[in-house]
């Protein structure tokens, strides 16, 4: 396996990487990242599309002070590092928090104590946030509360700066990190590895500002897209040829609970684990980048409807237009699309014409 470090002409691990932005980052000492709590988003991060994950971070000027899955330090070694950050001996450029912040029971934070310290995690996060140049919520739990805030939210879980779609959360709506930015919400359940890496690389290169955040403080580079963009089921969508059961090929909006036409994320243009996405995997987009997705008010796999019309209409689409277009396209559905929509493999193939395509 070729590793960047050992290939001829590559910088050695302790030498600065190349490139103007990363050179500047390294001259400032790199982007010191401290990561707290570990879960699916870290596991997803390790699936980043690179042949050398650790070299990729280092070459971008990203220096992991500590990460729960990747670092050597354990126990007292980590506690020494946290002390050094809190008293200013170690510079903290980006505090990445993964997972919900558990305020319960009764505001004590005892549902999540930082092991070995007899102090609640929320206490550590508050104090470390005050020391950080940037604070990054990695995943929908850290951004909004997420799945852990489901049901009647038994642990009183919230996000760093949001509780569902209400600004506030653990740090409060007015919180700004030393950079002047609010918490950067790299939401998703899990979050996409390259949403995280692109954010950290932009922070390392000092090229990320307030204009790069959408109204929910998500990075615009992925949140200004819709999951619908690039969906391979688009022909079925156009003709309202709908899937009726799991593994059907048709559009999942009408019956199967798919919210891809409304949800902000680029999952079908920036694919997952090679060539995947939820819709390509045969299941509905459940809006995991959006606040409150964990309690949609209906079973996840069923589309809620009013008078036969889905309640959740495509983003920016007036209802009357949608109804008119849907009824027109349903009446014009080609036989091929209609049959394939309710099958798990192509039962009618696209016609092969002998004429030159115009």
């Amino acid at each position: 396996m070729a590793l960047n470090d050992t290939a001829p002409g590559r910088p050695k691990p302790d030498q600065p990487p190349r490139g103007a932005a990363t050179r500047a980052a390294v001259e400032r000492g790199g982007l010191n990242v401290l990561w707290l709590q570990c879960g699916g988003c870290s596991m997803s991060l390790l699936c980043a599309d690179t042949t050398d994950f650790q070299g990729h971070l280092r070459d971008a000027g990203i220096h992991l002070l500590w990460h729960p899955s990747l670092s050597m330090e354990s126990g007292d070694e980590l506690l020494d590092l946290l002390d050094a950050v809190l008293d200013g001996r170690t510079r903290l450029d980006a505090l990445c928090v993964e997972g919900s912040l558990l305020r319960g029971p009764n505001g004590t934070g005892r549902f999540h104590m930082l092991a070995g310290t007899q102090l609640p995690m929320i206490d550590w996060v508050r104090r470390l946030s005050a020391r950080a140049k940037h604070v990054v919520a990695v995943g929908s739990c850290a951004a909004w509360g997420g799945i852990t805030a489901g049901g009647d939210n038994p642990t009183d879980a919230c996000g760093l700066q949001y509780e569902d779609d209400e600004a506030g959360g653990l740090l409060g709506a007015a919180f700004r990190s030393a950079s002047g930015l609010p918490v950067i919400n790299v939401a998703g359940c899990p979050t996409h590895p390259s949403w995280v890496i692109d954010t950290l690389m932009a922070l390392a290169a000092d090229s990320f500002g307030a204009d790069d955040l959408d109204p929910l403080n998500r990075p615009r580079f992925y949140a200004d897209q819709l999951v619908h963009h690039g969906c391979t089921r688009n022909e079925y969508y156009e003709f309202k040829a709908s899937a009726e059961k799991p593994s059907d090929l048709g559009c999942m909006m009408e019956h199967m609970g798919c919210k891809g036409t409304q949800v902000h994320a680029d999952c079908n243009t920036r694919l997952w684990n090679g060539e995947g996405s939820c819709t390509r995997g045969g299941y509905a987009c459940i809006a995991c980048t959006e606040p409150g997705f964990q309690e949609p008010g209906h079973p996840f796999h069923e589309t809620p409807k009013l008078a036969g019309i889905p309640i959740g209409l495509p983003t920016d689409m007036p209802k009357a237009w949608f109804v008119a277009l849907a009824s027109l396209s349903k009446s014009a559905t080609p036989k091929r699309v209609k049959h394939n929509a309710v099958a798990d493999h192509l039962v009618v193939k696209p016609a092969v014409r002998k004429t030159r395509l115009k």
Binding site: M1, L3, C38, G39, G40, S44, C47, A48, T50, T51, F53, Q54, G55, R58, L64, H67, S69, L70, S71, M72, S74, G75, D76, E77, L78, P105, F111, H112, M113, A115, T117, Q118, M121, I147, T148, G150, G151, D152, P154, T155, C189, P190, K245, P246, S247, W272, N273, G274, E275, G276, S277, C278, R280, G281, G282, Y283, I286, P299, F300, D344
Partner: protein
């Protein structure tokens, strides 16, 4: 007697604290504290049953598919639903992809880096351990991370994404695979096989699978003690006497892994009793959870999961963890790859456990051997897919009833128990692998498997986070977030 409060542990999944009473240079007694409570069993109350398939994979980012499989099996049991053969094979490939990735991650990223610690700097092998396994720098750490990334592209195709793959249904897999895709998937499996054969084993998988005794293993090791990362680990076993660290309870549970369309298992389960070298059938009705020392209400005493309760009681005086104490017929049990391979009759694992028991060495060995054993199975399952036949049948569930889903995650036996009333979830109980292994004491005061394994662990002069304790803890490959679901 001195008391050490050890934590936070990293390179374990989730939050773990261990309280040690140290007498001289040895651990005299240990208490294991899972320091986080998550509330999934409460969240699931009142939900539509199918919604469990959205919530449960999100219990955990590293055992995500395992949770999906157990939940789908519980719902399938409830509804009397049988997967078509394609759905079973596809689900098995998806589960095996996660399980083997977890074994790889454990070995290269979680367990081996501890041998690069400065405490071992005086040993002749230390520089090589640093070169291979130093976090973020080690060549093998980085090569394994790259191999893992490629490996998970199997799930981009088979399940849309990982983690939180939602393609697994009670009735099969939602992602049909066509013939061309199958060829591509097989080539990805071969790529991973090649990584294992070049880097981990320095030998063909079939050669590893043919090693049937400890004598044969050490003969193979002696041929080239530094060639490949398994042999390097075996060198460390000898140098550091890792077989003397962390003895387990000697009773091993596997529910059986990778259900087959004919009703059998690729790796049959059972309860292996090391002292009698005997395999008993699993009696799932004998499973109880005892909340005496958990910060959870325990008014009714130990309960079978179908009657189980989860109600936080954070001020309970006897409590020291958020984890309940699972018991099988009242006994402490160990689970994981070692249990799975003992139950399934792996001759080398059985021989090694006969000779030196369950410990740091045999737990890690069993995990690595499972990589060699399951990759060829995955090749067979992909070969058995019939691309034009169904992958999934619809899931019709009754409004009332109960179901149980038993499965094997990378870390061991995982059970889901679900009760429906009026079409809604009335109770949902989960017993995770690390719930067994990192169990607290029960009502009789019997310590859990890790609590027992830590007794007599050596503590060096001045150590606040004893390195031997770290080896023992990590040898179980704990997943604390599943534990405290």
């Amino acid at each position: 007697m001195t008391r050490l409060l050890v934590g936070p542990f990293n390179r374990v999944e989730g939050d773990l604290e261990v309280q040690l009473d140290v007498q001289g240079d040895r651990v005299a007694s240990a208490q294991v504290n899972a320091t986080m409570y998550r509330g999934f069993e409460q969240i699931l109350q009142g939900k539509a049953p199918h919604d469990a398939l959205v919530y449960v994979p999100r219990i955990c980012g590293i055992c995500s598919v395992s949770q999906s499989v157990a939940s789908a099996r519980a719902l399938a049991h409830l509804g009397g639903i049988a997967m078509p053969a394609n759905g079973q094979h596809a689900s098995n490939v998806i589960l095996a992809t996660e399980n083997l990735a977890d074994h790889l991650t454990h070995f290269y990223l979680f367990f081996m880096p501890d041998f690069a610690r400065p405490v071992y700097a005086g040993h002749g092998w230390h520089a090589e351990a640093v070169r291979r396994f130093a976090p973020n720098r080690g060549e093998q750490v980085r090569a394994a991370t790259a191999a893992r990334q490629r490996w998970f592209t199997l799930l981009g195709t088979l399940g849309g994404k990982w983690p939180h793959t939602q393609s697994i249904e009670p009735g099969g897999s939602t992602r049909p695979i066509d013939a061309a895709e199958r060829v591509r998937l097989l080539s990805r499996v071969r790529e991973f096989r090649s990584f294992l054969e070049r880097q981990l084993f320095a030998a063909p998988l079939e050669a590893i699978n043919s090693i049937d005794s400890e004598d044969a293993l050490w003969t193979w090791h002696a041929q080239a003690p530094l060639s490949g990362d398994l042999r390097f680990f075996l060198t460390l076993v000898r140098e550091l006497q890792l077989h003397t660290l962390g003895p387990g309870p000697g009773r091993y549970l596997s529910y059986g892994a990778y259900a087959q369309p004919d009703g059998g298992w690729a790796l049959p389960g059972g309860v292996w009793r090391a002292d009698m070298a005997r395999l008993d059938a699993v009696d799932a009705s004998a499973i109880t959870e005892d909340a005496t020392h958990a910060w959870l209400a325990d008014g009714s005493g130990p309960l079978h999961p179908l009657q189980g309760q989860t109600r936080p009681d954070p001020d309970k005086a006897r409590g020291y963890t958020w984890n309940k104490a699972p018991r099988l017929g009242g006994e402490v049990i160990e689970t994981g790859a070692i249990a799975r391979q003992l139950a399934a009759g792996h001759p080398l694992v059985r021989d090694a456990v006969v000779r030196c028991g369950g410990n740091v060495y045999t737990r890690v060995l069993a995990r690595v051997l499972e990589l060699a054993r399951v990759v060829p199975m995955m090749e067979d399952w992909l070969g058995a897919l019939r691309p034009t036949e169904p992958f999934c049948v619809p899931s019709e569930l009754p409004d009332e009833g109960s179901g149980v889903g038993l499965s094997e995650a990378a870390r061991g036996s995982l059970g889901h128990w679900v009760v429906l009333r009026n079409g809604r979830i009335a109770n949902y109980q989960i017993v995770a692998p690390t719930s067994w292994n990192f169990s607290p004491r029960d009502a009789a005061g019997i310590p859990g498997a890790l609590e027992q394994a830590l007794v007599n662990a050596p503590v060096r002069e001045g150590e606040k986070t004893p390195v031997a304790v770290q080896h023992i803890v990590r040898s179980f490959d704990p997943c604390m977030v599943c534990t405290v679901h």
